[in-house]
Symmetry: C2
Subunit: 357 residues, 2 copies
């Protein structure tokens, strides 16, 4: 199917530069993209919101030589205006050269990863919505391989809750080699990656424990946490050992970092594993390397994931092994309000931009 019958312009939320929410400008008539070689054009149904949208807007990733530097997700300079939005669910409406036209009409969720090679285990080094235009618009072009057909009763809004958070969480669990029966503490467990990690631990047969704001404990227990420890509980060790029956942790899945990190790592058993993908509590941490080497610990940093991580998440979504946690939907024009709600963190799971009406 050709794209010539489609409108030439579209609604899009444009990020016009690094800065505050004022850098987000809604354009009711942005030029609709055409699928290039190997690409498909997707009519976006919904697109999830992630921390990375805000961190990229703020340029909050720091630089190697300056933690305060304004820096994007990758080392590549950003092209503005940028359409952000990594967690795309929708329908293929046109195919570019070299793509089977029979794919038009497919319901898809999009692997947002941009990969340096074809190895299914290579993690993405950048992503759709950062290095190229994303899903906060009526249409988006993505490489055909990134558009995964899904047969599911889930809505586009529900599908758009999974990509970035669940692939990242799966990457964390894979790197930390989480196995059946292991005790895993998840910090920030009500957030996107945190709530994904709780569910993905259960999918592996592991036992997840959650650190979470007290008001969200019941919701996080409902998605599978064995026990919830209220954020800020002191002493943390006592609360965790109460929950585990005195057992040290095998794995710590962390999205918080910050000043409590050293204390939290101390809860790991000898040979325990730690993995992090973010640092909402502050990225600059102090560690005592003696505690790391005397206990033979390992620490993994993980950002997003690999093709194989995405495929595993997709399969778990389609099989119903993991459930969407769609906390609230917002209209495309209401991005500033959506990001403000996102930053208040008073929800469990994911916020989504409902693009198609």
């Amino acid at each position: 199917m050709s794209s010539t019958t489609l409108p030439a312009s579209m609604r899009a939320m444009l990020l016009t530069g690094h800065g505050g929410p004022e850098m987000l400008v809604f354009d009711p008539a942005f030029r609709r993209p055409e699928p290039a070689d190997g690409e498909v054009l997707i009519r976006v149904g919904a697109c999830g919101i992630n921390n990375t949208d805000i961190w990229v807007r703020e340029g909050a990733y720091g630089a190697a030589d300056d933690p305060e530097a304004v820096a994007s997700f990758s080392d590549s300079p950003m092209q503005f205006p940028l359409i952000q939005g990594a967690d795309i669910a929708g329908t293929i409406v046109a195919s570019g050269p070299g793509v089977d036209p029979a794919r038009v009409g497919e319901r898809v969720m999009v692997d947002f990863g941009i990969y340096a090679d074809c190895d299914p285990d290579t993690p993405s080094h950048d992503y759709i919505g950062s290095a190229r235009q994303g899903g906060f618009a009526d249409y988006v072009c993505v490489p055909a391989d990134n558009a995964h057909a899904v047969e599911t009763d889930l809505s586009d809004g529900e599908l758009a809750t999974f990509c970035c958070a669940y692939v990242t969480a799966e990457h964390l669990l894979r790197r930390a080699r989480v196995e059946r029966g292991e005790r895993v503490l998840v910090t920030g467990a009500s957030g996107g990656v945190g709530s994904a990690a709780i569910q993905l631990c259960r999918a592996r047969g592991a036992i997840p424990y959650a650190i979470v704001g007290a008001s969200k404990a019941s919701a996080v227990a409902a998605i599978g946490a064995e026990a919830c420890i209220a954020r800020g509980t002191e002493p943390l060790a006592e609360a965790v050992y109460d929950a585990t029956g005195g057992q040290a942790l095998d794995v710590l899945i962390d999205t918080v970092a910050g000043p409590k990190l050293a204390d939290t790592i101390e809860l790991l058993r000898s040979g325990g594993r730690y993995a992090t993908c973010g640092a909402v509590g502050g990225p600059l941490v102090q560690l005592d390397m003696r505690r790391i080497y005397l206990k033979n610990l390992e620490l993994h940093g993980a950002s997003q994931g690999s093709r194989r991580d995405f495929a595993r998440v997709r399969d778990l979504v389609v099989s119903g092994a993991i459930q969407p946690l769609l906390a609230e939907s917002f209209a495309l024009e209401d991005m500033a309000a959506a990001q403000a709600a996102f930053s208040r963190k008073d929800f469990v799971g994911k916020l989504v931009i409902q693009v198609a009406s």
Copy 2:
């Protein structure tokens, strides 16, 4: 062979408590131990000196809740007087109950590890010379399984250079999965673990680069360093990239930590691995977790090693694939002078106490 024909007392260097060198007291007539069930009695030929001897004496390992606490290597309380000394080479002179008496006469190097179970991959949680009496004495009893027969032309002094440093270095390389052709930067490369890591990288076909005091560069190059970068060179990145032809590092093997750690980790490629066993430059470090997760790095703490690590080192010693670096020998009575020389770090390789004359 019974031990009844052996003298009832022996020379021993006793650590009488945590503190300075004055806590080391030479005893010319300490009670000689008798081999218990499953043990052998070894006439010590030589016993190597390690950082851990000094750190245990000082109680410099810190505690979970207090980095300044006086703490030993393990959580077990120390029993004084303690005979330290982990790197034992000598000859079996008596066997305890349950041990084949035919082992008497074997030339052995001792696996210093104390293991929680029989899994050959479990790292030791404590060691001979800390949890039980070690080799800074004329005789020592060890579990028969820890005494490995070796056929070699190396002297006991040369054999005593290998155990702790090389097993620890092998553990670091294993955890960091160092492979043929990979570029590995080794800090503190003139020290025991550092010089071991240089040789063990070559044994794996990897390419080791060294950070080392300028005066020791030629000696470290002679044992296999592809290039040596003088400690303190600024900017470090430029010097490393000059050495590697602009390539980022696959692995960093670190014994230094300290204030430069974050800059050094920055030299790793995406997906690079870091492993540490010590922190002579200071154990308390500040890290930017964003740099860890955006680059998908992994950090391993490793202390000593496993039975398999020891066996691999033993095989490389016996085959001649790795060479002893015996910088200087001291008499047992001269321990204080030996530790002072050790702390000056103006040598390459290992210092050894020559026990037998």
